[in-house]
């Protein structure tokens, strides 16, 4: 604690932050943002998060409608309910943003992520890695005598669990796409 009683590591980096805490509970939300596919649009979205001190836990972006020039940005973010509301409102006022959906509150949704894991090892460890990959329905997409590259798709916590299991078995590299999400049903 400094003389000015600013907590170390607190979210309020600035003396300007006079916000009340409407609720202290940090929530994790998945936002789907439909944007005009124009140069700089991703920089605008990311710049909003960094400029206003919001968190990005995961971010994916790709064009989803070539004729309509639309891209879909899926952002997993966390903050108090008031901060989440503010993030949505701020995203909504970016000019090339068409729609902002909070999948966490707009009804049930399905979230998936793709990841690739390189595992190096020989002997029992190699066999065990292959066995576990089978249980997790991960595919082998590359193989040498010392390494496997597994491809796994699923909810982020399933991928986390797989990573935890692979670590003692010689996990050397990880590539994750980040979350893609859609609402269930109509």
């Amino acid at each position: 604690m400094s003389a000015l009683k600013i907590k170390k590591g607190s979210n309020s980096h600035s003396a300007y932050n006079l916000r009340p805490n409407f609720s202290d509970v940090i929530e994790r939300h998945t936002l789907a943002v439909l944007v005009e596919n124009e140069p700089g649009v991703l920089a605008r979205v990311i710049g909003l998060f960094s400029g206003r001190g919001y968190n990005i836990d995961s971010l994916t972006v790709a064009e989803v409608d070539h004729t309509g020039h639309l891209s879909r940005i899926t952002i997993v973010t966390s903050g108090t309910p008031q901060v989440i509301e503010q993030i949505k409102a701020q995203l909504g006022r970016i000019v090339p943003v068409h729609e902002v959906h909070d999948l966490t509150v707009e009804g049930p949704s399905v979230e998936r992520e793709l990841a690739m894991f390189k595992v190096s090892g020989t002997g029992d460890k190699r066999v065990e890695a292959l066995r576990l990959a089978d249980i997790f329905r991960a595919n082998v997409v590359d193989s040498t005598l010392e390494t496997f590259v597994f491809e796994i798709t699923g909810a982020p916590d399933k991928i986390d669990a797989f990573a935890d299991l692979m670590r003692p078995l010689g996990l050397s590299d990880v590539a994750r796409t980040g979350v893609a999400a859609l609402p269930r049903g109509n």
């Binding site: 003389a3 000015l4 009683k5 600013i6 003396a15 300007y16 006079l18 916000r19 009340p20 409407f22 005009e36 140069p39 700089g40 920089a43 605008r44 710049g47 400029g51 008031q82 509301e85 503010q86 409102a89 701020q90 909504g92 006022r93 970016i94 000019v95 090339p96 068409h98």
Partner: protein, 583 residues
Amino acid sequence: MTRKMTGAKMIVQALIDQGVDTVFGYPGGAVLPIYDEVFQQNSIKHVLVRHEQGAVHAAEGYARSTGKPGVVLVTSGPGATNAVTGLTDALLDSIPLVVLTGQVPTFMIGSDAFQEADTVGITRPCTKHNWLVKDTDKLGAVLHEAFHVAISGRPGPVLVDIPKDVQFATGTYTPKKPSTSHYQPPVKGDMEEITELVAAIEHARRPVFYTGGGVINSGPAASQLLRELVEATGFPITSTLMGLGAYPASGDKWLGMLGMHGLYEANMAMHDCDLMINIGARFDDRITGVVDLFSPKSKKAHIDIDPSSINKIIRIDIPIVGDVGHVLEDLLKVWKSRGRKTNSEAVGKWWKQIEEWRAVNCLKFEQSGKIIKPQYALSRLEALTKKYDRYITTEVGQHQMWAAQYLRFEDPNRWMTSGGLGTMGYGFPASIGVQMAHPDALVINVAGEASWLMNMQEMGTAMQYGLPVKQFILNNERLGMVRQWQELLHGERYSQSWSESLPDFVKLAEAFGAKGIICSDPDDLDDAIMEMLNYDGPVIFDCLVEKHENCFPMIPSGKAHNDMMLSGANTQGMIDAKGSVLV
């Protein structure tokens, strides 16, 4: 109808089609083709400023005094980077601007070419939106969309970056037509919320209107509707710095400005009210003081065209997203149809309380002796210019707050000041922009000597275009507001807040061919002000004032509205360690 023309010609054509009559700018290598087209036409006046920051502030002055977007034309690299302060200023105060920048040719972008800067990258966070146009065929449509974005919804600055080869190339011009873009912010408020606000108005015992720049931005009709609403309900009204003039200062419901240097009665009414009706203001930290203690007993309604303003700082009970003019129209309609009810007995009692606060007379000061008090200087300026339809700009600091306290505004669009960003150097170029838009009006920039020096090069512009802007400088040879905070918060250690070697402002005026007036005696002040008003041309008025005067009332950092300092007598220990972190 489509026509073939060069990109440069397209730019001028688009400006004409948008009804632009004045452009503020400065030429350079990357905009020469555009300047060539400017040379060959008579529809648009070009004002050559002396620094690109001046161009942007001048365009802001033009925009704020007319309600039309201000237009700026500057070159690439340093031209664009010099415009950044003005863009940020306009973004924070929601001023519509269209800024056109030249760029190195498309095939050289990214090569660190001469006068190349990543203009769209640099200005992304300080514009509402920006574009880099790489295809001449798209230029016309982008320019028209730029105007649409600048003025739609919450207004703001936009920037179009145009590489030099795009200016030279020939393409097809897309003429102006109603915008088909997806960006169409709704202007009508939700009727259910409006009806809820009407019900709150009917039952309120201690109501207050808290209005802001959104009323001005919504246009003169919104100010008229606001006046009608205030008169019909009889509720008291206060305003932010940005909203002065929307309701006339001569109106008997007027409490004066609120906030850090606002009036005692305005801040007390905000603290003790039971219904706060925020119309086009944004709960800025200069207004709220410490938010935990902000107006603890009130139900709060908020009318704002920008949904992100609502619940950003203060929790709102009745949120209404919409344009002030449209919402007030519907609000009045519903309120009238339900029988124009208010709790007049309770509101009468509320007014009695307010009258007690008013009786404190928080703006009183004593002019005695041979040194001019800044408050006295502004009171005399007010008295002597009252009969004019006058436009006031300011710089930033103590003089700005005194101007907001002692000058009285009867109409919207007459008060141009840098509110959100607090940009020293804003007022002088802004006064040039205002005078360009209103050639026959009295335009005065109330300044401090330190702020004024930040853009003093614009004297050249004022002289070149014969703009009779009056520079009313309250000269205390100090950075007055910095000095005040050092006195209150930093043990009277006046670090770097004293300007030595100030120019002789009379000689400075004369060097530019303008008139200089110096006044140091309160007995001479009226005559000197009259001399300024009667001179047909730019004037620098060097008003030597009390050097250590502090600006009161003041809500110290970290305190609530009902915890104001009314004078310098009770400043000891008012600001604690927690408050001193705040700006």
